[in-house]
């Protein structure tokens, strides 16, 4: 028998390999660039301008590599493939997201450095001492990884949030802040759907329990309203499935809680940063996008004012992250004015705001993952002359914008693992480069969250349809769902 040769194999393989690299290159060249990845929920990088000076310094080249990666054909398919391979190999954690039981994905908790924790607490305490006249409360919502730890994969190694929560609790209490601890309440309801399965946020149900549990300490009479639960989407795909690649095809339901019509007050929600007023907490057109959680208060804004014609003359200032967005609607009926400040995007002077608005109460409302890694609350609370310097630094000239965003964006990336992706977006949002240059920071191609995208998008939104000076009395929930079942019925099965 003639000895078989391996030459045909190498012939074929050689042709194949050469053809593949060439064809893939051409496909990437020909295919139009995508500006936004729905799956990853972030802006993809666009072709970097040729800049010989930057090339010579070696700073431009990584941008091309990021660009090629971001715009690689079938990008979403490759990411799904990778996640599938991971699961085959027995991986239960990806990009800081745990693959948990009962279909849950949970974001890992990243412990703050001692310095970070100390700085945050010190800033809050200093602010408290400066404002003894204000009534101050704090809600740090524990995350799913804490409350639902029994669903974590066997042996999953997580950092316990509780010691950090206790440390904050004990410290701020001494300075007159009433710490509203939701851990027990949420734990009691941990078998219910209080967190999204594919997203890092709590659900409206979770927020509702949080609202009920904080009523006493906030001095709210919860009996004034009755709520009905209403499904608004059955195709929500959260950030955690995007971030990890796990369960990336999974869709879940999303609910809002609406007051019965006879009990509902009228709200005016004023998005200060883009001068928009609407009569609803909910931006239903956001349900058509990937980032459906942004339907709550239209995503994250630097400053939002909510006016409600209540008898009670209370003005509440909330320092918040995105967990507040589905919680605040419950507070609406209880305050005449609510001002939401998201320190990640806010650069105003907080002391002036407090004086001008006649703020009587303060609430810190964060989730633990974001709170412990946050670097912006400290700056906002400092509120002396410091923050103007920060604004100046951030608002560098447009010509330097890209470079400034680039250099500043690299620094916080080490502490940037939280879902909220804190300071990277802050810098970018303030350089005036959003829309075109927002991807500068994302050298790690796959490390973004819903919030920055939500922020970017908020500028592009066309409010003409929803913005109407003489909005009518009725809500514009033009949804095809039936209103008819109440909350108790629906959740009996959980």
């Amino acid at each position: 028998m003639a000895k078989r040769s391996n030459k045909p194999f190498f012939n074929k393989l050689g042709t194949f390999f050469f053809a593949v690299i060439l064809i893939v290159f051409l496909i990437n060249l020909i295919l139009p660039d995508r500006s936004f990845s729905d799956k990853e929920n972030r802006v993809l990088s666009s072709f970097p301008a040729v800049n010989l000076a930057q090339m010579a310094s070696g700073r431009q080249e990584p941008k091309y590599e990021t660009y090629v990666n971001d715009q690689f054909f079938l990008r979403d398919f490759w990411i799904t493939l990778k996640a599938g391979a991971d699961r085959l190999m027995g991986k239960v954690e990806n990009n800081g997201v745990w693959l948990c039981k009962d279909g849950y994905l949970m974001e890992n908790f990243t412990a703050p450095t001692p310095d970070r924790l100390e700085a945050n607490i010190a800033a809050i305490d200093a602010f408290s001492d400066r404002h003894p006249e204000l009534s101050k409360s704090m809600i740090i919502v524990p995350n799913a990884v804490n409350i639902m730890s029994s669903r974590l994969p066997a042996g999953a190694l997580t950092v316990d949030q509780n010691s950090y929560l206790d440390e904050v609790k004990n410290s701020v209490k001494e300075h007159g802040v009433s710490f509203i601890d939701l851990r027990e309440t949420l734990s009691n309801h941990s078998l219910e759907r209080i967190y999204y399965k594919t997203d890092h946020h709590w659900t409206t149900l979770g927020a509702y329990y949080g609202y009920l549990a904080s009523a006493d300490q906030l001095g709210l009479d919860t009996s004034i309203l009755t709520y009905d639960q209403l499904p608004v989407s059955d195709s929500f795909q959260g950030t955690l499935s995007a971030k990890s690649g796990f369960r990336s095809g999974e869709k879940e339901e999303m609910y809002v809680f609406l007051p019965r019509n006879d009990t509902a007050p009228e709200y005016v929600v004023n998005y200060v940063d883009d001068r928009t007023r609407v009569a609803s907490f909910y931006q239903t057109d956001r349900l058509e996008t990937r980032d459906k959680y942004a339907m709550f208060l239209n995503g994250n804004h630097a400053q939002v004012k909510i006016n409600t014609p209540t008898a009670d003359d209370r003005t509440l200032l909330i320092f918040k992250d995105s967990y507040a967005n589905c919680f605040v609607p419950f507070l609406g009926p209880h305050y005449r004015n609510i001002i939401l400040i998201d320190p990640r995007y806010y650069y105003g002077n907080i002391e002036e705001l407090i004086a001008a608005e006649g703020v009587s109460e303060i609430l810190y409302l964060y989730n633990a993952n974001t709170f412990f890694l946050d670097t912006s609350l400290e700056l906002t609370l400092a509120a002396s002359g410091e923050e103007s310097a920060i604004t100046d630094a951030a608002e560098s000239t447009p010509a330097d914008g890209a470079a400034a965003a680039d250099t500043t964006a690299t620094e916080p990336s080490t502490s940037d693992t939280a879902a909220e992706g804190t300071s990277t977006e802050t810098t970018e949002g303030s350089t005036g480069t959003e829309g075109t240059e927002t991807t500068e920071g994302s050298t790690e191609s796959y490390d973004s969250s819903s919030d920055d995208a939500g922020y970017d998008e908020s500028y592009d939104y066309d409010y003409d349809s929803s913005y109407d000076e003489s909005y009518d009395e009725s809500y514009d929930y033009d949804l095809d769902y039936d209103y008819d079942y109440s909350y108790e019925e629906d959740y009996s099965g959980y």
Binding site: R4, F10, F16, E65, V68, N69, I79, E93, G155, L157
Partner: protein, 460 residues
């Protein structure tokens, strides 16, 4: 640029290869040199000047060594070696030297923070081997500057080896024909190397990084960690060498193999004949043997071994832990040579392999932990005193999530798998091609996902 990146494989490589194959004859060499300079300059353009200087300097000194009168040859050789080592020393060891002197005399010597030029250790050693071979009349100096540049700067082995000798590719430099089957052989090497790097090594890296960054570990967890590192560094580095060899084949060159299943070695001496072969043989031929090798008195022989291994360690990085790692191997080799030799030979093969792997894994602790307290702590955990227990939930977790990968690695570091694949190439070509397609697709998926992961050996 690194080989295991989307940018390299799907942008640089197709354009470069297309031009390289289209340009006829000697024009290919010019394409190769320009491509190599671009490859090197990408992301760090300033140090390309060093690369060019090294090539130009050694080219002319090679000619000079041949032409100069006999009495000044030695001086010329010493001068060339010193200049080469000075450049390497300045960029790689300057800070280390000042810091070490400073800590001995308890003073702070300030120095600029220089980033290490990519591949400087590799191309310096490559050029030194050329100069020393010319000096020893083993080869004639290369008269053609372009040809020498191809040897000195070609991108496949420029950044992270293997340390190709001029003598080994002298004839290929003159004539390196390309063909589709040869390109296919190159693709085979490249795909396997890429898979080793991005599918195995990068995932193993995550496990070791997670374990070694934990405050305290149980005994078994530490062993899982160092096992993962042991596999990681092998698949990372041998994967890189495979990619380099594969790219060489695509360009028409045949480089010698750099790894020969080192984890099957039956003693430490054999391990070093199978691990990073081009480096081991470099130190053997240019330091150990010139020092007298083993043909000297026993004390001198011991000195030679320790000197060579301390330098081998130092070559891997400007840090004392690498020196310690090298000296550790020097001592092990002495032990085998003078004490254990006969004992080992009488043991069954599997015991000898376990002994070798035990020594190698301990060695990787010195290699992976850059500080002495870190080494002490990790070894302390592996052997009990610093451990938090024998096993705990973390042990279970890392075992459970790593076991599939570990089993694949154990299979893949033995030759059996590759032999089977070789048979498959002939018997069932379609299946063999399909396997390569799947590996390339998987590797692509991992690269798209990771975007960027630098090589462990890139900075050496």
């Amino acid at each position: 640029m690194v080989f295991s990146s989307i940018f390299f494989i799907f942008c640089f490589l197709p354009i470069f290869m297309l031009i390289y194959y289209l340009v006829p004859g000697k024009g290919k060499d010019i394409v190769l040199i320009i491509g190599s300079l671009l490859f090197y300059a990408w992301g760090e353009p300033k140090y390309v000047i060093l690369l060019i200087f090294s090539a130009v300097f050694n080219y002319f000194m090679g000619l000079e060594l041949n032409d100069c009168p006999e009495e000044s040859r030695r001086l010329n050789m010493v001068f060339t070696v010193v200049v080469n080592l000075f450049i390497l020393g300045f960029f790689k060891y300057y800070a280390f030297l000042l810091d070490s002197i400073g800590s001995v005399f308890r003073i702070t010597l300030s120095h600029p923070e220089l980033s290490l030029p990519i591949g400087i250790s590799f191309y310096t050693f490559k050029n030194l081997s050329y100069i020393l071979d010319v000096y020893n009349d083993k080869i004639d100096p290369e008269p053609n500057f372009l040809t020498f540049c191809v040897y000195s700067m070609m991108f496949p082995h420029m950044a992270a080896g293997p340390i190709v000798r001029y003598a080994d590719i002298e004839h290929q430099l003159v004539r390196h024909p390309v063909s589709i089957p040869k390109f296919g052989v190159g693709a085979e090497y490249f795909i396997k190397g890429l898979a080793k790097k991005v599918i195995l090594a990068d995932n193993l890296a995550v496990i070791y990084a997670a374990i070694s960054s934990r405050g305290s570990n149980a005994v078994l967890t530490a062993w899982i960690g160092i096992f993962a590192y042991t596999m990681q560094i092998y698949f990372d580095f041998s994967g890189y060498s495979d990619m380099a060899i594969g790219l060489g084949k695509m360009l028409g060159f045949d480089f010698l193999k750099n790894f020969d299943y080192p984890y099957l070695s039956e003693n430490v001496a054999e391990f070093w004949r199978r691990w990073h072969i081009s480096l081991g043989s470099w130190f053997r031929d240019y330091i150990y043997i010139p020092l007298g090798g083993n043909r000297v008195s026993v004390p001198k022989h011991i000195r030679n071994i320790l000197v060579v291994w301390a330098l081998t360690g130092l070559w891997h990085g400007a840090s004392w832990n690498f020196v310690l790692w090298g000296v550790y191997y020097g001592l092990l080799l002495l032990l085998e040579k003078f004490v254990l030799g006969n004992v080992l030979d009488s043991l069954p093969v599997f015991v000898r392999r376990i002994y070798t792997m035990f020594c190698v894994m301990i060695g990787w602790v010195f290699f992976s932990q850059t500080s002495f307290p870190g080494i002490a702590k990790y070894l302390g955990t592996m052997f009990g005193p610093a451990a938090s227990g024998f096993a705990d939930t973390a042990t279970f977790y890392y075992f459970r999530t790593g076991i599939v990968l570990f089993v694949i690695c154990i299979i893949a570091c033995r030759p059996n798998l590759q032999n089977q694949f070789r048979k498959l190439m002939k018997r069932n070509m379609a299946v063999a091609i399909a396997i390569d397609v799947i590996l390339l697709a998987l590797a692509t998926a991992f690269m798209v996902y990771n975007s960027y992961s630098p090589f462990l050996y890139q900075q050496f």
